[in-house]
């Protein structure tokens, strides 16, 4: 999972003018936005679930134990996300094969 995509620290040398450059620039922008949106969804969910799991009774500050729990929870959530993703993609390709390789894009899941 590419969390943040490639960081685009490199400023554009000149504004793209050829068809090739415009295409490349558009693709890069879309990639960045997709990676950012994916990261935002993930971070939101990690926050929600790990706050639930690790900070049952919020005190005046995070304890060391809570901090450790949060780090572990975050790593576990990412692992869990990847396992869910593998299971989902495996099932979807299995189903699409049994439908004779029908187009998946029309199936709303």
């Amino acid at each position: 999972m590419a969390l943040f995509g490639s960081s685009s620290a490199t400023a554009e040398a000149s504004s793209p003018s050829t068809s090739q450059e415009i295409k490349a620039s558009l693709i890069r922008q879309v990639q960045e936005e997709a990676a950012m949106s994916n990261a935002r969804s993930l971070i939101g969910k990690v926050n929600e679930h790990c706050f639930d799991a690790c900070v049952p009774t919020p005190g005046s500050s995070l304890t060391a134990k809570e901090s450790t729990c949060l780090s572990q929870c975050m790593e576990k959530y990412i692992g869990f996300w990847n396992a869910s993703s593998r299971a989902y993609i495996a099932r979807v390709s299995k189903e699409s094969k049994s439908l004779g390789g029908a187009d998946l894009s029309g199936v709303s899941l």
């Binding site: 003018s17 068809s19 950012m36 969910k45 959530y77």
Partner: protein, 90 residues
Amino acid sequence: MDTQTQLDIAKLNDADRKELTQYLANEAQKSNIQQTVHGLADICWKKCITGKISSGRLDHSEEACAQNCVERWMDTNFAVLKHLETLRGQ
């Protein structure tokens, strides 16, 4: 985000335009799948990770639970659609 340079889309030639259309369709599908997985991980985390978190690693039973949860969620999806189909025929 960074300051977006104004792009003159009119300068795209037909081949690049076609390639971009295909690229965007692929990205949209990828993004859809990712959003579904975000939803699934959310639902299944609630069912599978109920105890105290004592390690950052996903253990075997948790991984198996994730897989079963996703599979049964898909089964549920199909079962609902199937039953809806019979209701419509009545």
